[in-house]
C-alpha cells in the first residue's frame, strides 16, 4: 500500500527522513509516512519568498531549476514544492479546506550532501493563510533534527521588520526543537548594492542579526550569485560542519608532501565545495576553487544528459598534471603535480592508498560524527 510504495521508492532514491503526518489530515493525501530509526539530519534553507534560495540551491548543487510556473508571486505550486522535499511519491493530492482536490508534481531533487545531510527549502513569511496555518501546525516537525539553519535575507527587502520577525520565530522554533543547530545568515543579492556601500550595509545587518539571535550564535555572510562570495560563504559553512577538519587538513598536508604535489584539494562530493586544501606555494589565481567547481558541475550536468555519472578526470600537459578522483564516500580529491616526469600511474596509486587511510579516518570518529558516516 502506501508503505510498500514508499519502500520501493526508498531503494531507488535513497531518501531522507520522513515527517509525521499532520494531525487531522488523512494519511495518504500528502504522502507522509512514519519516521525511520536512523534520524538523518536536516539542513534548512529558509528565507522570504523570492530571496534567491532556489537559485542558490540550483547553483551550489547543480540542479536544473524546473520552472514550470513563473515566479510571479508565490503560487500554490511553488509552496507545495517547498513542502514536498521529503515526499516519496512523484505526485500527491492536496485537499483544501473547501474539499477540492489538486494533484501536483513533486520536484525530484532530494539534495543530499556531506554524507547524510538533507537539504530542505522553506519559504518563510509572506504566504497566505493556508500556508501560514500549515507552517505553524507543522513547526515542530519541520524544525526537528536540524543540523544547520541557513537563513537568507534579501538585502533589497523593504520590510526589514517583518523579515526580522520571521527570523526570530524560526529561531524560537530552533531553540525549542534543535538547540544544537548551527545558524548561518546570508545577506544575499549584494550585487544590487553600490560597491562602496557594501561593507557598511553588511556590517549593519550583521550587528542587528547577532543581537537578535541571542542566546544562539549566528555567523553572517554577505553573498551574491554574481561574484565569488556565494561560493566562499557556502565553503565556510561546509568547513564549519566538518567535525575533525583540523586533523583532516594535517593528513592532507602529509599526503601532499609525500607525493610531492603542488596542491591538493578536498571537495565535497555533491557540491564541489572545497572542504580543505593544501598548497605548497603561492598560486596566482584566487578564484580557482570556484572555477574548478563550476567547470566540474557543468561537466556533471552534461554527463547526466547521457545518464552517465562523473567519476574521475586527468588533465595533463608538459607543465603539469591534475587528477580529480573520488576519494572517500563523501569527498573528491584533486591533486596537482607540476613535475611532469612523475608518471600518472604513480600518482594514481598514491591516491588509491591514501583513500584507504582517509576512509579509516572518517570511520574512526564513529557514530557521534554522523556527518561523514556512510
Amino acid at each position: 500500500m502506501e508503505e510498500s510504495d514508499s519502500e520501493k521508492k526508498t531503494e531507488k532514491e535513497n531518501l531522507g527522513p520522513r515527517v509525521e503526518p499532520p494531525l487531522g489530515e488523512p494519511e495518504g493525501s500528502l504522502g507522509w509516512a512514519m519516521p525511520n530509526a536512523t534520524m538523518k539530519k536536516k539542513v534548512l534553507l529558509m528565507g522570504k519568498s523570492g530571496s534567491g534560495k532556489t537559485s542558490m540551491r540550483s547553483i551550489i548543487f547543480a540542479n536544473y531549476i524546473a520552472r514550470d510556473t513563473r515566479r510571479l508571486g508565490a503560487t500554490i505550486l511553488d509552496r507545495i514544492h517547498s513542502l514536498q522535499i521529503n515526499s516519496s511519491l512523484s505526485t500527491y493530492s492536496l485537499v483544501d479546506s473547501v474539499g477540492n482536490t489538486k494533484t501536483f508534481d513533486v520536484e525530484h531533487s532530494h539534495v543530499r550532501f556531506l554524507g547524510n545531510l538533507v537539504l530542505n527549502l522553506w519559504d518563510c513569511g509572506g504566504q497566505d493563510n493556508f500556508m501560514e496555518n500549515y507552517f505553524t501546525s507543522q513547526r515542530d516537525n519541520i524544525f526537528r533534527n536540524v543540523e544547520v539553519l541557513i537563513y537568507v535575507f534579501d538585502v533589497e527587502s523593504r520590510e526589514l521588520e517583518k523579515d526580522m520577525h520571521y527570523y526570530q520565530s524560526c529561531l524560537e522554533a530552533i531553540l525549542q526543537n534543535s538547540p544544537e543547530a548551527k545558524i548561518f545568515c546570508l545577506v544575499h543579492k549584494m550585487d544590487l548594492v553600490q560597491e562602496d556601500q557594501r561593507d557598511l550595509i553588511f556590517k549593519e545587518r550583521e550587528e542587528d542579526l547577532k543581537r537578535l539571535s541571542r542566546p544562539l550564535e549566528c555567523s553572517c555572510f554577505r553573498t551574491s550569485i554574481w561574484d565569488e562570495t556565494l561560493y566562499k560563504a557556502w565553503s565556510s559553512i561546509v568547513y564549519q560542519l566538518i567535525p575533525n577538519v583540523q586533523q583532516l587538513e594535517m593528513n592532507l598536508r602529509n599526503f601532499a608532501e609525500i607525493i610531492e604535489a603542488d596542491e591538493v584539494l578536498l571537495f565535497e562530493r555533491a557540491t564541489f565545495l572545497v572542504i580543505s586544501h593544501y598548497q605548497c606555494k603561492e598560486q596566482r589565481d584566487a578564484h580557482r576553487f570556484e572555477k574548478i567547481s563550476n567547470i566540474i558541475k557543468q561537466f556533471k550536468l552534461s554527463c547526466s544528459k547521457l545518464a552517465a555519472s562523473f567519476q574521475s578526470m586527468e588533465v595533463r600537459n608538459s607543465n603539469f598534471a591534475a587528477f580529480i578522483d573520488i576519494f572517500t564516500s563523501n569527498t573528491y580529491v584533486m591533486v596537482v603535480m607540476s613535475d611532469p616526469s612523475i608518471p600518472s600511474a604513480a600518482t594514481l596509486i598514491n591516491i588509491r592508498n591514501a583513500r584507504k587511510h582517509f576512509e579509516k579516518l572518517e570511520r574512526v570518529d564513529g557514530p557521534k560524527q554522523c556527518l561523514l558516516m556512510r
Binding site: S55, S58, I59, A62, N63, Y64, I65, A66, R67, R71, H108, S109, D191, L192, I225, W226, D227, E228, R284, D285, A286, H287, E290, K291, N294, I295, K297, Q298, L301, S302, S304, K305, N317, S318, N319
Partner: protein, 559 residues
C-alpha cells in the same frame, strides 16, 4: 529532470565580449538580446604564467566560468540566471584617432559584423585623418618648392596608402591565432614579441605627445589672436600698419619679416597708450597665454573618462570644411600669383625644386597617418570585400583635400608685395588678427582642439599607464604627474619654439618610421619568408621602403 534542457544548445555557449583594461557601451532594450549578450574572453595561456601583461583579469575569467555554468542550469527562456547589466563588465571603449586629426569613440558593432556603408566608412577615414596638419601643408609646399611639393604630396599619399594596405592585410596573414579582436600593436607583438609591443607603445606615444604639443602651441596662438581681435574690436584699433602687409581689405601679413625692422611688439612705440601697453604685457603669445591655458585644460585632463569630449567630434569636420571655404574665398579675392623659377630663388618666389623637401615629407607622414586604427575603422564596414577599395578612395579624397588647400593658399599668396617665403607654418598666421573670416576659423579650431586635447591625453594615459602599471588610473598622483609632464612640454614649446611645422615633422618622421615604414614592410617580409613565398623583387621593394623611412627621419635633422 534533464528534459528541461534542449538538446540543440551548445555544450559551451559561444558569446562575445572583450575584457581589457580600457574603456564601448552596448545598451540593449529587449530582453531577448540580454540573454544573447556577449561575454567571451580569449582562452588564457595557462602554460606561460609569467606573462607580464595579462590580457584577461582573474575576475573576468571567473565571471566567464560562472556565466557559462549558470546558463546550463535553466532553460533559455528563463531569466532568473541571466547576468544583469551591472555585473557584466562594461564593454571596452574603443577610440579611434589620428594624432593630428580627430579622435572619437567608435560605436561598436554587436552582431559580429559592421553596419557602415562604404560611404560612411570612407567619410570616417577622411574625417579621422583630417585635422590640424592642414595648417602646415602650404608651408610644406613652400619649403619643398611648388612643383616638388605637389608631386611629393601625391607620392607620399600613394606610399602611405600602400603601407596602410599592408597594415590591413597583416592581420589576415596570421593563421596560428584568432585575430578577430586584434589591432595593429597586437600584430606587432605577435611578430616581434614584447619588443614589438613596447616599441609600438613608444612610437605611438611619440606621435600622441608630439600632437599634444602642437595643439598647445596652436591653442595659445588662436587664443592670443582671438583675445587680440576682441580687444582691438572693442577699442577700435587697427594695427596692421605696423607689419608688412598688402595694405588693402584682403590683407595678408608677413609676421616673420619683422626681423630686420621693428619687432612684432612694435605697436608699443606707435601707440603711447597705457591701456594697450598693459594689454600687450598681459596678453602675450609666447609669455602669458600658454600659461592661461593651463588653468583651463589641466583639470580636463584628469577626468577618468573622456566620453563627454568625444561627442564634439563634429567640430573637427566643421572646422575643416570652413577652412576649405575660407581658402577658396581668399583665393577668389586675392587671385593667383604664380611664377615658375626652377632652381634659383627670386625676391618674391621660391624655386620649384628645393632641397628642403624632406620637411614636407615629415609633415605628410603625420598628415596621412591612420595606421594605428585603420583595422578598427575597416572592421565596421558592412561589405568587408570592399575594404581595399574604400581605403583607396579615402586616401584619394585626403590627398585631394591637401592638394586643394595647399595649392590655393600657395598660389593665392600675394607675391608681388610679399615673398612666398612669408608663408607661415600655420597659414592662418598670415592673416591679421583683425580679419573676421580667419577669426571665425580660429574660434572653430580653438574649440575643436580644446575638445580633442583631453581625448588625446586620455589615450596617452591609457597606453602608457595601462602598460606600465596594468591599470589605466592607478591613482590621482600618477595621472597628475603624467599630465603635468605633457602640459609642461606643451607650455615650454609654446613659449620658446612655437614652430608647429618643426614639431610636426620631427614627431611625424619618428612615429611614421615605425608604424608607416618599418613595421608593415618588415612584417610582410617575415610572413612571406615563413610561408616561403619571398621573392627578390618583393624583398628589394620592401627594404627600399624601410630605407625611405629611415632617410625621412634622418633628413629631418639635416635639411
Amino acid at each position: 529532470m534533464a528534459n528541461v534542457d534542449s538538446d540543440s544548445r551548445h555544450l559551451i555557449s559561444e558569446e562575445e565580449n572583450e575584457v581589457h583594461p580600457g574603456p564601448m557601451n552596448i545598451q540593449f532594450d529587449s530582453s531577448d538580446l540580454r540573454s544573447k549578450r556577449p561575454f567571451y574572453i580569449e582562452p588564457t595561456n595557462i602554460v606561460n604564467v609569467n606573462d607580464v601583461i595579462q590580457k584577461v583579469s582573474d575576475h573576468a575569467s571567473a565571471m566567464n566560468k560562472r556565466i557559462h555554468y549558470y546558463s546550463r542550469l535553466t532553460t533559455p527562456a528563463d531569466k532568473a540566471l541571466i547576468a544583469p547589466d551591472h555585473v557584466v563588465p562594461a564593454p571596452e571603449e574603443c577610440y579611434v584617432y589620428s594624432p593630428l586629426g580627430s579622435a572619437y569613440k567608435l560605436q561598436s558593432y554587436t552582431e559580429g559584423y559592421g553596419k557602415n556603408t562604404s560611404l560612411v566608412t570612407i567619410f570616417m577615414i577622411w574625417n579621422t585623418m583630417m585635422g590640424t596638419s592642414i595648417l602646415s601643408i602650404p608651408w610644406g609646399i613652400k619649403q619643398a618648392g611648388f612643383t616638388t611639393g605637389m608631386c611629393v604630396i601625391v607620392l607620399m599619399g600613394l606610399l602611405t596608402l600602400y603601407c596602410c594596405y599592408r597594415v590591413v592585410k597583416s592581420r589576415t596573414l596570421i593563421c596560428t591565432s584568432d585575430t578577430t579582436t586584434w589591432e595593429y600593436p597586437d600584430v606587432c607583438k605577435h611578430y616581434f614579441g614584447s619588443f614589438g609591443q613596447w616599441s609600438s607603445l613608444l612610437f605611438s606615444l611619440v606621435s600622441l605627445i608630439g600632437a599634444m604639443i602642437v595643439y598647445w602651441v596652436l591653442m595659445s596662438n588662436f587664443l592670443f589672436n582671438t583675445g587680440k581681435f576682441i580687444f582691438n574690436f572693442i577699442h577700435h584699433i587697427n594695427d596692421t600698419d605696423t607689419i608688412l602687409n598688402t595694405n588693402n581689405s584682403n590683407s595678408v601679413i608677413c609676421p616673420s619679416a619683422g626681423s630686420g625692422g621693428h619687432p612684432n611688439n612694435g605697436s608699443l612705440i606707435l601707440y603711447n597708450d597705457t591701456e594697450v601697453q598693459q594689454f600687450e604685457k598681459w596678453w602675450s603669445k609666447s609669455k602669458t597665454v600658454p600659461l592661461y591655458l593651463i588653468g583651463l585644460l589641466l583639470p580636463l585632463l584628469n577626468f577618468k573618462s573622456p566620453s563627454f569630449f568625444s561627442k564634439f567630434n563634429i567640430l573637427g569636420t566643421v572646422s575643416v570644411l570652413y577652412l576649405i571655404f575660407l581658402v577658396t574665398l581668399k583665393a577668389i579675392r586675392l587671385g593667383f600669383h604664380l611664377e615658375f623659377h626652377w632652381f634659383v630663388p627670386t625676391e618674391f618666389f621660391v624655386p620649384e625644386i628645393r632641397f628642403e623637401f624632406p620637411q614636407l615629407t615629415g609633415v605628410l607622414t603625420l598628415a596621412f597617418f591612420i595606421h594605428n586604427c585603420i583595422i578598427t575603422l575597416l572592421k565596421n564596414n558592412k561589405n568587408q570585400e570592399n575594404n581595399v577599395r574604400d581605403l583607396c578612395m579615402a586616401y584619394m579624397l585626403v590627398t585631394l583635400t591637401y592638394l586643394y588647400i595647399g595649392f590655393l593658399v600657395f598660389a593665392s599668396f600675394p607675391s608681388p608685395p610679399l615673398s612666398k617665403d612669408c608663408i607661415e607654418q600655420n597659414f592662418l598666421d598670415n592673416f591679421p588678427s583683425g580679419d573676421t573670416l580667419s577669426f571665425i576659423a580660429r574660434i572653430f579650431l580653438l574649440f575643436q582642439m580644446m575638445t580633442v586635447y583631453p581625448l588625446l591625453g586620455y589615450l596617452a594615459r591609457v597606453q602608457l599607464l595601462g602598460h606600465i602599471f596594468g591599470d589605466i588610473y592607478p591613482s590621482i598622483f600618477h595621472v597628475l604627474i603624467l599630465n603635468l609632464v605633457i602640459v609642461g612640454a606643451g607650455v615650454t614649446m609654446a613659449c620658446f619654439y612655437p614652430n608647429i611645422g618643426g614639431i610636426i615633422r620631427y614627431s611625424g618622421a619618428a612615429c611614421g618610421l615605425a608604424f608607416v615604414f618599418i613595421y608593415p614592410s618588415l612584417i610582410y617580409i617575415i610572413s612571406l619568408h615563413q610561408e616561403e613565398r619571398l621573392t627578390w623583387p618583393k624583398l628589394v621593394f620592401h627594404v627600399f621602403i624601410i630605407i625611405l623611412g629611415l632617410a625621412n627621419l634622418i633628413a629631418q635633422f639635416f635639411m
